[in-house]
Symmetry: C2
Subunit: 686 residues, 2 copies
């Protein structure tokens, strides 16, 4: 009768608890001999800790899972100061060891990313409805700030497509960039300030885990949707349309494009198409042969120069090809006087700052972590948030808009052999030179080439293989991805994102609300108990119903668990009576996977005990708990209603021991319950 | 070396896997003999199911956990029809067996609750800023509807204090009940319609689990807060103030009360105080001696009669005591023409309907379940929602406002010996008689006695012992309770509720974001592995780090788990090298408690494997998984990156077997790793 463990244990004198090895620590208090004279391990209450201690350790796990102060332990005071300074300014970690060899690598990579940053900066600023020069300003100051505070060695800092798109589209809801350009610029800088403020606060308050709620599936869907939206926006410059819709959605943009076919300019289309093909080809070459990274890295600047020369030579700007126009020379003017923390648009500005801040933070951290993993160093998420936040706060008062680590440029930086943040400094200096002396050269740069550069840059955000992999692994994640993608395309960028986050959280809540309960059976020849619907050889033990609950028990699922467990018992009873087996005498609840419980959960255990007690006909059925974890034991013990469960006959350390111990007492108490016929049916191990 | 299980298994020939018992099912495919010649059970992939099958079973578990169609299975067609009719109209279940004996009990209890329902109905209608007669209408029609559709035998149906309070306060945000009484009434009926609509929809769509999000802790805090707010509102009638604030919060009401001390009428205060003491005393008697339930049940009606007589005899209404005034005679007039599904206030009406619907549903279901558990019958939550919803939809077109099962009246009903829903019918008939003939008697009923009745009724909602119990069991639940309580007092009724629900959900999400990871150790003399910080006798196995993850792995916690697990390894390495023990060769992840995984989680496993592989110095550390559950196995197998883990040397069914099997191969591969000195330190079982 009973599980295999019972027989095995009795057969094995070597496992008898009385054989004390003198080398065992704490051997004295581990042996517990129940009346049935077999070894049963007791469930222990965890070591007592005060509420304050518990709160402290919980706070530490929540906010300092990486234990950042560990390296300071046991160091002399001077060393602590140095470590502290290095912690705040990561530049102090690598600057003292900096060498000429590293510098050579950094100059090459810095110049390479500068050749990308200049045309992309101008393009992304236009995407955000800002003056093109703001894009260059934003590639000058923020990289310098990041070089001091940032801990990634590969991040190439500057404006990025998605944050630019969101900033532009959100602000445009209330203010028109063409009618009120100054107000629009002020709102953009103020939003940038708030973005930096939120980013730095998340880092300082160690709430960085909030960005984890943007899961990979969400990001893949969101990025792809944003890439489509961004590309559609470029139809304006690529087709030469003058009356373009201010809306962002797929439908209004396509409607507007095909409504204004008269405005299409064939010269623009031809030239745009050529440069687009050129840039996409360059990109393709670099993907196929990563060593030729400089082809795609240099192509945008080459296209800008080439197209500018063509326009200048053929006076194409008189033939319908629109150009950037005159740009102001000189370095970033101060803009702190343009920050407005009051007025009618404050709500919008805070919201925009929050959304762009979170999105650009997610991109920056993800990029930093990706390359850190490749080169096997670590990036501290919370520190990076502070660095990116500071960079945007400083940027907002020096005429920069939202910046972060850009994926494509960081990849080029990495491939070009960047060793430290000096490559960002080199890029920044190059941009400075451009700002000071080369601005007039951009006067005849056609808008279409900027459009082609943006399209080429965002095409890489559409990651079809990753989407296919998600479809294969997890259908629900794929649904979340689709929500993000379609939401961005058909609703709006920020709402698409919100919908996808909502759906992901709903999934988690649904998992919590409907936790799995499984029936365990004994795996013959062992004392292992596993899900009978998963392991075909696992068989039930007559007289027992062994259930495992696979989630924390709380208010959201107690009612469900109550109904579900009672249904298991009823179904099991029906099946048993059909097979003429004895009815259930013990319901064993395996709580190994119940990591937490709350007051409603404690009430559930009490209610179950009562309900199960009423089920039995001859003898009442008894509820037995197995392996409750520390927190669960504590709460069951503290609530008056469930203190009974703490008695050894209701509490076992393993299912095997519970079955072994209980089935022996079952035989003693009610020998008539098992008739010979039924017993022949029962598969018995050994 | 290694865990106890290894030695034990080798010592026990009886557990050797080759001994096949002919009575064992599936014995053939359970034996797997690994090269190390010890028994190791294989982790199996769960039986293959198509995505459609999985979706179907998931939907069934989510929406039909109680399997309502089970009773129909295998029944003849005629029986199915009868069962179906009984399922829709629970009255058909008990009506055929109804007897005179049951009727006698029901008449007594019905008259008892009628004597409560009449004064309370009038009072609660005033609380909702509605004409008093609407409270009586609402005690006439809804009980009849419930008697047909409801499945609780004890629920006493009618208006309740909290829903009345919320309805009144929400509608008053936009419409003044004194300036536009007709519009206010229309909005109240329309809100009632929407409340019923939401309630019935939740039941029909089987989304009843949504009300579980109002946990016990929230409800206790919320009810107590609402009781205070409701009592404060009664200061108007108890002090005789004419210029009372239309706001509900603690601060504005107290300010208004003490600002208008000139309006206080000593006659009202004196008389109100006497009746309040009388009613509270009656309540106290019934609590002390439940058999004297009729004392508190009859007291309100007695007080109404007595106070009316006093007012009439002394002409007290000429001395500053305010009375109800003339009430219209006759039954409920139809009100479907007063339902407005358009216009300026539609949004408010829908919101009010939603909030009052959810709140009253929660109260009704909780009351029904409480008494069902006492009498040991079952109440089907989703069916109850449909019944309560229908009752409100019908009510909204017959001049009734939101009704549900009231806790205090249901308790009286139960104590008075109610057997079936006939007691509701008796109450309804009594109210009908009152409406038809007795209305003029209420003309001189003073408002102060209604106030005293309400205060007495809501005092019972403040449950201090339950609050203390929550404090003892779970500090966080107590915090949630406080949020609800203080939110209701100082912010507003509906926002206090929203705050508390938000905080509860935040707690669940935090648990998910920061799951516990624990280090397991071997319990000497067994093959059991448990948390070393909980079980003092559990000891680590040299060369192994055994970690258990106690939550589903998903996007919200993958990053944390990654950092936390790597930190465990580092800390363990430091400790080991301090003790001169060998470094970790195997990291064993026990996934028994990981009930689900998503694509981000799958990536985590891959990343961990890579990161752990890099840790080792001499030989690289290997990641081993133990007991992944069905869903986790499937996903690990489907993702290309983690298919490696499906090989038997990376996957074990129990920690014991993994340690036993791996430690034998460890000795073979790297015999130099263990020096004698270190080995002497290691506690060895057996």
């Amino acid at each position: 009768m009973g599980g295999g463990s019972h027989n095995k244990r009795l057969d094995c004198p070597s496992t008898n608890g009385t054989s004390q090895d003198p080398m065992e620590p704490n051997a004295a208090h581990r042996i517990e001999m129940p009346p049935a004279s077999m070894e049963v391990h007791r469930v222990e209450t965890p070591p007592a800790r005060s509420s304050v201690q518990k709160l402290k350790s919980k706070l530490k796990e929540t906010f300092f899972p990486d234990d950042p102060l560990r390296q300071f332990k046991g160091q002399p005071a001077r060393k602590k100061w140095i470590l502290g300074a290095q912690y705040v300014f990561p530049i102090l970690q690598w600057a003292p060891h900096y060498s000429l060899k590293l510098f050579k690598s950094d100059v090459v990579s810095g110049l390479t990313i500068a050749s990308l940053a200049i045309p992309q900066g101008i393009s992304y600023a236009k995407l955000a409805n800002l003056p093109p020069i703001v894009g260059l300003y934003s590639s000058f100051v923020p990289p310098l700030v990041y070089a001091v505070f940032g801990s990634s060695r590969d991040l190439a800092v500057g404006p990025v497509s998605i944050a630019s798109l969101i900033l532009g589209s959100m602000l445009r809801q209330e203010v028109s960039p063409s009618n009120e350009p100054l107000l629009f610029l002020q709102l953009a800088f103020t939003s940038t300030f708030f973005a930096g403020f939120f980013q730095a606060s998340l880092g300082l308050l160690r709430l960085g885990f909030l960005i984890d709620f943007l899961s990979k599936a969400i990001l893949i869907g969101f990025m792809a949707g944003a890439a489509v939206i961004v590309s559609l926006q470029q139809l304006k410059s690529l087709l030469g349309i003058t009356h373009f819709t201010p809306q962002m959605g797929l439908v209004p943009v396509l409607t507007s494009v095909f409504h204004n076919t008269k405005e299409w300019s064939w010269q623009t289309i031809l030239m745009g198409f050529c440069f687009l093909v050129l840039l996409l080809l360059a990109r393709h070459v670099s993907i196929k042969k990563p060593k030729l990274f400089w082809v795609s890295a240099g192509a945008p600047l080459a296209s800008v120069i080439l197209s500018t020369l063509i326009v200048f030579a053929f006076k194409a700007h008189h033939h319908g090809i629109r150009v950037i126009g005159k740009l102001q020379e000189g370095l970033n003017p101060p803009s702190w006087n343009m920050l407005h923390f009051h007025g009618a648009h404050l709500g919008l500005v805070i919201k925009t700052g929050f959304v762009t801040g979170i999105i650009s933070l997610t991109e920056g951290i993800a990029v930093g972590r990706t390359f850190a993993a490749l080169k096997d160093y670590r990036v501290d998420g919370n520190k990076e948030m502070i660095a990116i936040g500071l960079m945007n706060i400083v940027g907002s008062s020096t005429s920069c808009y939202v910046t972060t680590g850009a994926f494509s440029r960081s990849a080029v930086n990495h491939n070009a052999g960047a060793k430290t943040a000096v490559s960002n400094i080199v890029m920044s200096v190059t941009v400075m030179v451009t700002l000071l002396f080369l601005m007039p050269l951009f006067q005849y740069t056609p808008n279409l080439v900027l459009g082609a550069i943006i399209v080429t840059a965002v095409v890489g955000l559409i990651d079809v293989p990753a989407a296919y992999n998600i479809w294969k692994t997890d259908k629900f994640d794929f649904l979340v991805m689709l929500c993000a993608f379609l939401g961005v395309l058909f609703v709006s960028v920020q709402e698409g994102l919100a919908i996808a986050v909502g759906v992901s959280i709903f999934k988690i809540l649904l998992q919590i609300t409907r936790p799995r309960t499984v029936v365990l059976g004994s795996i013959p020849g062992s004392d292992i108990y596993r899900n009978v619907h998963h392991y075909k050889e696992a068989v039930g033990v007559p007289g027992f119903l062994i259930l495992s609950i696979e989630a924390p028990i709380n208010f959201a699922n107690s009612m469900y668990l109550n109904e579900r467990i009672l249904r298991w018992i009823e179904e099991h009873d029906e099946k048993d009576s059909a097979k003429k087996l004895s009815s259930i005498q013990y319901v064993i609840l395996d709580l190994s996977a119940v990591s937490a419980i709350d007051t409603t959960g404690v009430t559930l255990i009490k209610d179950l005990k009562k309900a199960i007690g009423k089920k039995g006909i001859e003898a009442s059925t008894i509820l037995v708990l197995v392996n409750p974890l520390g927190e669960v034991i504590e709460k069951l013990q503290r609530a008056e209603e469930t203190r009974d469960f703490m008695r050894p006959e209701n509490l076992y350390l393993t299912v095997g021991e519970a079955v072994a111990s209980l089935s022996s007492s079952m035989k003693t108490h009610s020998p008539t319950l098992y008739d010979e016929e039924a017993q022949a049916d029962i598969p018995r191990p050994n």
